[in-house]
């Protein structure tokens, strides 16, 4: 009887520690994936820039880098597609929209907890730059809004060259399921064509 009362709390402590470690691990894994993947993607992007060919960042990847986006101090490599798996590694480019350099509305989505956490700090004064195979594109922010997840109008094609960044909102929320999206729209200011002719 006595041994039982002693063991029970111990078991609880061990279980709790175990669950805690598991969850911490899982949480860290999400961040680690987001950071490490960007290193690997950097190599793939360098290869893409020099060869002009699509280069998956690792052999079994079902995506490839399409551009590099700079937000204030940080820059990230954009991957093709916006599936959950892709977004875990980097911000994704919605494939149904054009890439910068082609007329229309370029839509990019990223996780609010990792790569696109910085969107919150962006203001109308900030410029965004996107580098693609075609060259470097500088955008000026013209609209910041919070929309519902079903409001697809932000992805609609535009007559002016537009860049649309999407991430989940609110930024500091714990829940991974929010129906709100933080949307930044920017319009093309400057275009530097790639001189290397790739």
């Amino acid at each position: 009887m006595k041994s039982l009362t002693v063991n029970k709390p111990k078991a609880i402590v061990i279980t709790c520690c175990f669950i805690s470690a598991l969850l911490f691990g899982s949480s860290m894994y999400i961040h680690a994936k987001a950071i490490v993947a960007q290193w690997l993607i950097e190599n793939a992007w360098t290869a893409t820039l020099s060869t002009g060919k699509q280069q998956p960042p690792w052999s079994w990847a079902d995506t490839y880098p399409v551009a590099k986006i700079s937000l204030k101090s940080h820059s990230y490599y954009l991957l093709a597609g916006i599936t959950g798996r892709t977004l875990a590694f980097g911000p994704g480019h919605m494939s149904s929209t054009p890439l910068p350099g082609k007329a229309g509305n370029t839509v990019i989505a990223g996780h609010r907890d990792t790569h696109f956490a910085q969107l919150e700090q962006l203001t109308f004064e900030d410029n965004l730059t996107v580098e693609t195979l075609k060259g470097q594109f500088t955008y000026q922010i013209i609209d910041i809004s919070i929309v519902h997840e079903k409001d697809m109008s932000v992805t609609a094609s535009t007559s002016n060259d537009t860049l649309t960044l999407i991430t989940c909102y609110p930024f500091d929320s714990l829940s991974p399921d929010t129906q709100w999206r933080y949307v930044i729209q920017a319009t093309l200011q400057k275009r530097d064509n790639n001189q290397s002719g790739v």
Binding site: I12, S20, H148, S173, Q179, R181
Partner: protein
């Protein structure tokens, strides 16, 4: 000790349950969003007593939802009210749409309301009414208007911005609506009346249909009507309708309508297809129409009227003299054929998509429809069948007479078709349009049946443009999501029509309608000449089918006196002159003309013309005629700042028919949540450990 342990165990189990539910939740994020909304809402904002979460999923049925200050919850508030006043004069309707935005919350909010307008609507006025003050909107280049709106919004000023998202979809942004305040925004537009088979009709759309999915680059079927104004099959509205009772939608978005109809002649009947109306005769040729009761805005309102058989209109001319010149609108009814006249000889090329995506019922229905169409050919017709997937094949080396032997050969060929392989539309176009041998006695019609998803649209358009010659291209879209942008534009470039078959059950009826029409082409190769130099739209007159009139808008420095229309009426040269000395004076024709010119210009852009030059032209015309367009927006800003607090964004969703499911990507991870739960367990472990030590 025992009770304590139990409590801790219960707590631990609870926490595990919550975390598990979150994991499950995030995995199903894309498929069961409605469920997620509820769950996350309850979990996150339990401190906020918000209303009726279960209604949230009905956002598609129209609701004005506002965000709370802490941005973590939302309130549903009664939606805006819409009032429509319309005046129809001759062939033009002028509509005044008043929307009242009411903020039922205690916060300052910004609202967004997306709403449809007729695809040929020329929007030229915006007024914003706050209490007693009225602010009139100005037309501005789109970017500039947006900037002005943003500035007003952040300065706490009331502002309204009207933007055209696509030819038939507009959004109205309203900034800084105070708690309990109502802002009334009035939009005015002009539209041409449709006239077909002696029936005038006017449509007021209330839902954004599936075919105007915001994610598609261009709107679809009805866009062809926009350019032709009238020439083609009436767009089918069956998809526009939503049975509110079925979806259990609360009747929130109400619409009142008042129409003054100055037809100018005695009417046989005035009717509305879907909504009960009350009609009053005011004077000869003047009527007033009202809805019996306010309608729920989930079904398009269609009003139709018809002249007395004794005075059916056969031609019309309306004009407007301005400082710059003369604007006008002409309607001319070509001679009608009696049923006894033998149908035209046709050379019909059927092209059927047999790619893998057509597998199953689509293929079966397409085959049935094709078999039916072939059996319906008359013996004087010639025909051929092309089947394509990754490659294209024809049944006959060249078009064959539609005799029994050939028909049976074709049927056998169709029977053995199987759906697999890719969708190489270009190869099929090359087979059907390339190397045409001119046949003066037959009209060449290409009927293209596909569900095709294509990426090389520009290439295909330019091929059609170059190789159409005397052929007419009719596209038929089958399946749940055909590329309607491609199909519409291809049909337009092919001087034909686009038929969209929404469900496989309706393939047969739709095809019968199409083929019934194709049998009776009335006028082809139409050209219109006026005795003055005119800028006329549509630039290229489409072929006419039974019951369709010629309708065009023109601008001319000098008033034109007569028009010569010539074309081919059943292989015979046909021409008719219309004296234009007399006309009904009417305002607003310049607006309609400008709207058509803009539609023409944007089409040129997709044909590969230089976009920058065309955008400049569109901008100039839209600015001159005070029109909302793809390059311009209307903006009204109240100069007095009113918002005391920072306003938050909200959106008013339009009622959308079911099936329009679009979702922005899921962009949050459970990382922080997991870390937090992990921390909780760690503290729990520590606590239990401490407690245990103390006890020992």
């Amino acid at each position: 000790m025992n009770t304590q342990t139990r409590i801790i165990i219960t707590l631990a189990i609870l926490t595990i349950a919550i975390s598990v539910s979150f994991f499950l939740n995030s995995e199903h994020a894309e498929t069961t969003s409605q469920f997620n909304v509820d769950l996350s809402y309850k979990t996150v904002s339990s401190n906020k007593p918000l209303v009726k979460v279960e209604q949230y999923g009905q956002v598609q049925q129209g609701s004005f939802f506002l965000q709370q200050e802490n941005q973590q919850g939302y309130l549903l508030s009664p939606l805006l009210d819409t009032k429509v006043d319309m005046t129809v004069t001759g062939l033009i309707a002028r509509a005044i749409v008043t929307q009242e935005f009411t903020n039922s919350t205690t916060e300052w909010v910004n609202g967004i309301y997306a709403f449809p307008l007729p695809e040929n609507a020329a929007v030229d006025h915006l007024t914003m009414k706050i209490g007693e003050r009225t602010i009139v909107g100005k037309i501005q280049p789109k970017q500039k208007a947006r900037k002005l709106y943003q500035q007003a919004k952040s300065a706490g000023k009331k502002a309204s911005l009207l933007v055209q998202n696509r030819p038939n979809l507009f959004t109205n942004h309203v900034a800084n609506i105070g708690p309990g305040e109502t802002i009334s925004v009035t939009i005015e537009y002009q539209q041409a009346i449709t006239f077909d088979k002696n029936l005038f009709s006017l449509r007021f759309p209330t839902t954004i249909t599936q075919r105007y999915l915001p994610s598609s680059p261009l709107s679809s079927e009805q866009k062809s009507i926009d350019e032709n104004g009238w020439g083609n099959t009436q767009p089918t509205f069956e998809n526009n309708t939503v049975d509110a009772s079925k979806e259990g939608a609360p009747p929130m978005h109400k619409l009142a309508m008042n129409i003054t109809l100055n037809s100018g002649f005695e009417l046989e009947k005035i009717e509305s297809e879907q909504h009960p109306i009350i009609t009053n005769k005011m004077a000869t040729g003047q009527y007033n129409v009202q809805l019996e009761q306010d309608m729920i805005a989930n079904q398009d309102f269609v009003l139709q009227w018809q002249a007395k058989p004794t005075n059916q209109p056969t031609a019309a001319h309306f004009s407007q003299a301005t400082e710059n010149g003369h604007y006008g609108m002409i309607m001319l009814m070509p001679p009608q054929l009696t049923n006894k006249t033998t149908p035209l000889n046709r050379d019909v090329v059927f092209v059927i998509d047999t790619s893998g995506s057509m597998a199953g019922t689509s293929m079966k229905q397409a085959k049935n429809a094709l078999a039916w169409a072939i059996s319906d050919l008359s013996s004087t017709d010639t025909f051929n069948v092309i089947a394509f997937n990754s490659t294209a094949n024809k049944v006959f080396q060249q078009s064959m007479p539609a005799n029994n032997a050939n028909k049976s050969t074709a049927r056998k060929y169709i029977d053995q078709l199987n759906a697999n392989g890719g969708t190489e539309i270009l190869s099929a176009l090359q087979l059907s349009l390339g190397h045409q041998t001119p046949n003066p006695t037959h009209i060449r019609q290409v009927v293209f049946i596909t569900d095709g998803a294509v990426g090389n649209e520009a290439e295909l358009f330019s091929y059609i443009n170059k190789h159409l010659n005397q052929s007419r291209l009719f596209t038929v879209g089958i399946g749940s999501a055909p590329n309607s942008y491609f199909m519409t534009e291809a049909a337009l470039m092919g001087k034909g029509t686009y038929t969209y078959v929404s469900s496989v059950d309706t393939v047969q009826t739709k095809m019968q309608q199409l083929f019934g029409k194709l049998k009776q082409p009335v006028l082809a190769n139409l050209t219109a000449q006026l005795n003055q130099e005119v800028d006329m739209y549509p630039r290229q007159l489409p072929d006419l089918y039974q019951g369709e009139p010629i309708m065009l808008s023109y601008f001319s420095k000098q008033a034109p006196e007569q028009m010569l229309i010539s074309g081919k009426l059943r292989q015979q040269d046909w021409q008719q002159t219309l004296a234009l000395q007399h006309s009904g004076q009417q305002s607003g024709l310049s607006t309609l003309w400008a709207r058509r010119k803009i539609a023409h210009l944007s089409r040129e852009k997709y044909k590969g013309q230089d976009a920058t030059t065309i955008n400049k032209q569109i901008l100039a015309i839209a600015m001159e005629h005070h029109l909302v367009s793809e390059m311009t927006s209307l903006i009204a800003v109240d100069m007095t700042p009113s918002a005391k607090a920072k306003s938050i964004d909200s959106a008013i969703k339009n009622q959308r028919p079911k099936g329009q499911q679009g979702m922005l990507p899921q962009t949050a991870t459970p990382a922080s949540l997991q870390a937090l739960i992990a921390l909780f367990f760690l503290i729990l472990a520590l606590g239990v450990n401490l407690l245990n030590k103390k006890r020992q």
